[in-house]
């Protein structure tokens, strides 16, 4: 008998069915990955195994160790939660209680399920922390969540989940919020613990690289349906269902042309100092500076893409904002940024405005980068109002429509019906196209792309990258592509710059840096991207 046997699971919220007829089984000690894009119902399915969604209407059957989870009473399911089935959430900062010491949080779970005394539970909590590789667990148990790093917090979450030796661990995107270098460690940790205790792991993810490396079996979900399942090797190598084929083939393909020659943008020994409040009493009067970018130099040719890779906190976004002259008013930028013949520093207001036209930007999250209360025409046309005030409304609309056509955002071949709509009426990929259109309508020479695809699903990501590559070759655009994703850099960049702790670790052409990395850090990045 299987440890977990899900048969014909159906989940509905009100009148809307989000999961329809999902069946799978999980044996003890097995690693199953539930894969799908956002909205596919993978998280809802997994949370329903513990009946964690109070508003959901569940049908079908979920047998855990021969007992039906869906029909058992509330006391029984509370016994099951945490004890037999544990969950590791995606975002460790929000899943941990910020005002409780981590030792106490783990001990609480132990007291609850094993009825141990406080001191004994505390000892077990320390042991659990030691097991997940937290150094100095006795001291660390006294820490609050904010005092730990992201990777440590995720380890604490895992320690908490494993404290009661569950037989099934549900890991919901356990590494998505972490940097690449930590992902590998967390996965290895999970695998070690699985071998030790013989528990089964249900991994929920959208990341196929993760699945390839981790799971024994994989189940692919699309819009509430389970379209394919099988062992990882065969599904990844020979996908049967068209959706799985699309998913497996969605690894970014390189379609960019060769770069031009010349120089459109250069930075010489660029440093960015963030202004932060000082410590103690003096902080009331003095502000201290934190160096976010230190002495970075770069050159960008027409039609060229410079990929800037780094983890969160490496200074890559600060660099992008400095290139755009969008740093905070109290932050200091040292060094020279030249855009064509001009520099930001020496430009007066009118000249800065002219520079804004040349350097444009596309942000990571298309939902927050579009004002929710303005129509598409207003959003895309805004730049024209500023930079070409002579245009009348009709001419401006023509330009906006042209920009939307350029980014291939049409409805049944028509652009006009889209103009009066609001951003919420579009999907994530369409919104990113609108953001690109807003940048393009000004006919810029340089576009700074700040993680342009990391908020999008893999299949959409591929479309946006192809669009960016086509626009580059058609319009001769130069890109500064800021990302943490090596696959994206591989698909887009001509030259690469690797940043770590505000410094440039390695820079050069794509083949040199990613083909034959010299620094340890780059080697690790390349290895972990698989």
């Amino acid at each position: 008998m299987s440890l977990l046997d899900v048969r014909d699971l159906r989940i509905a919220f009100g009148a809307r069915t989000v999961v329809d007829g999902v069946s799978f089984t999980l044996e003890a000690g097995e690693k199953l990955a539930l894969v799908g894009e956002s909205g596919s119902g993978k998280t809802v399915s997994a949370f329903s195994l513990l009946r964690l969604l109070p508003d959901a209407k569940l049908a079908g059957s979920v047998q855990f160790d021969g007992r039906d989870v869906l029909t058992m009473d509330d006391t029984a399911i509370q016994q099951l939660r945490g004890k037999d089935i544990a969950v590791v959430f995606q975002e460790p900062m929000t899943a941990l209680n910020p005002v409780l010491r981590i030792g106490a949080q783990i001990a609480e779970a132990i007291t609850l399920h094993e009825g141990l005394a406080k001191a004994a539970a505390w000892q077990k909590a320390i042991a659990a922390l030691a097991r997940v590789g937290i150094p100095q667990p006795e001291q660390r148990a006294q820490s609050f969540p904010h005092q730990l790093s992201g990777g440590q917090r995720q380890r604490v979450m895992i320690a908490m989940a494993l404290a009661c030796k569950p037989r099934l661990l549900i890991a919901d995107e356990p590494t998505t919020a972490l940097d690449v270098s930590l992902r590998q460690q967390i996965l290895e940790l999970l695998d070690d613990l699985r071998r030790e205790t013989g528990m089964a792991i249900l991994l929920i993810t959208h990341d196929l690289n993760l699945v390839r490396r981790f799971a024994d079996r994989v189940a692919v979900m699309e819009r509430g349906h389970l379209v394919e399942q099988g062992d990882t090797q065969s599904v990844m190598l020979a996908p049967q269902h068209p959706y799985t084929q699309k998913l497996v083939a969605s690894r970014p393909q390189r379609t960019v042309g060769p770069a031009g020659t010349g120089l459109v943008l250069s930075a010489d020994k660029l440093s960015v100092d963030y202004s932060v409040p000082g410590k103690g009493l003096r902080g009331w009067f003095q502000r201290q500076h934190f160096r976010a970018v230190s002495e970075v130099s770069l050159q960008l040719a027409p039609g060229e893409t410079l990929g800037v890779i780094g983890e969160s906190g490496s200074g890559k976004t600060s660099l992008a904002m400095a290139l755009l002259h969008l740093h905070g008013s109290q932050d200091k930028v040292h060094g020279e940024i030249r855009v064509g013949d001009a520099t930001w520093r020496t430009a007066d207001r009118a000249a800065q405005r002219r520079l804004r036209r040349i350097v444009q930007v596309v942000f990571q999250d298309p939902l927050s980068s579009l004002s929710p209360r303005r129509t598409i025409e207003q959003i895309v046309g805004e730049g024209l109002e500023i930079h070409e005030p002579a245009l009348n409304a009709e001419a401006r609309r023509m330009r906006v429509e042209q920009a939307l056509r350029d980014v291939e955002l049409t409805e049944a071949g028509e652009v006009a019906p889209l103009l009066a709509r609001y951003p919420h009426e579009f999907s994530g990929g369409q919104r990113q196209r609108i953001a690109i259109a807003r940048a393009l309508v000004l006919k810029p020479q340089i576009v700074i792309l700040d993680e342009p695809t990391s908020a999008l699903d893999v299949t959409i990501q591929q479309q946006i990258l192809q669009l960016l590559a086509r626009l580059q070759s058609q319009l001769g655009l130069s890109y500064v592509l800021v990302t943490h994703d090596i696959d994206v850099v591989r698909a887009m960049a001509h030259r690469v710059m690797v940043m770590k702790d505000s410094q440039v670790v390695e820079a050069g052409t794509l083949d040199d840096v990613l083909g034959a990395p010299r620094s340890d850090y780059t080697k690790m990045l390349v290895a972990s991207a698989g």
Partner: protein, 368 residues
Amino acid sequence: MNDASLVSAAASASAAPAPAATSPLRASPGRRAWQRFRRNRLALVCLMLLGALVFISLFAELLSNDKPIVVRHNGHYYFPIVQTLPETTFGGDFETPTDYLDPFIREQLAQGDNFAIFPLNPYHHSTINYFSKEPNPAAPSADNWLGTDDRGRDLLARLIYGFRVSIFFAIVVATLCTLLGVLYGAIQGFFAGWTDIAMERFGEIWGSMPQLYMLIIFSALFARSLGLLIVLLVAFDWLLISAYVRAEFLRNRALDYVRAARALGQSRRRIMFRHILPNSLTPVITLVPFMMVGTISALTSLDFLGLGVPPDTPSLGELLSQGKANLDAWWISLSTFVVLVGTLLLLVLVGDALRDALDPRKQLEGAP
């Protein structure tokens, strides 16, 4: 990775039992909020009722007045509601303005072809019924439907005019507070840093002044008037609005759409008013009905204490204090209580529904 938002969207969708009748997708955010508001039947009825009452109260002079709307006397037509006519016009002895409730004048107007069309309730809020059959305060009767107060003034007329004064006082105070608070909070939140700190400290000092003492001091210094009350209430109540707007501006200024506007070269003023302001007004709009409730309550309690409007102004608070002074005249306290509670209840129910309709967590509903 977006499944969490899907879950909450689905959860909120199921929380509201009735799904959208019309597609909420093809509409501006404001329109979608209105559609959500409309789904709350009770609030919609309350809003319409409140709107009707406010509208009707605008024409209080036609509803409750001691001057007839039209008079025909000896072949001449008069419009006393807009004309001041001496008593001699209708055969009286004096050059003073006519008292149309005087039995002698009534008699004159009933002779032959003469007629007078009185408003529904033939008393103005200042009319003293000298011809009442009972001593004041008089109980409800055919003459005075809700009775009279202790000075012989018709209670219904006092209530109609008192309601009008209260509601328009609240509208004026809420509008001024909103304007001042939005401007102050917007400057604070947008410029942040030292500007914010300095303005925040000023706001704290200002807010720590004892409002009631100030009112007592000022009502001693100046003649009591509605204008003075408006100034004094606005002077302290805007702080609440500015705190909300400041927080919204601080949040919104860091969002990417503001950075995108800066990257386009948009001017600071335009960014403030065109991009951040419309996205920061939600909590303000939610607050307005509750602010009006607070203002009406404040006006009523000040009047009750005798610190409020000038003595001859019709006021609900003054009626309540009369009710307290004349406990045996139950009709004074009861009818004032009903009007006051009714008004406040309507406002609260509307405000409550507005808050639900503008709840950001429900914005996700029906999103793609």
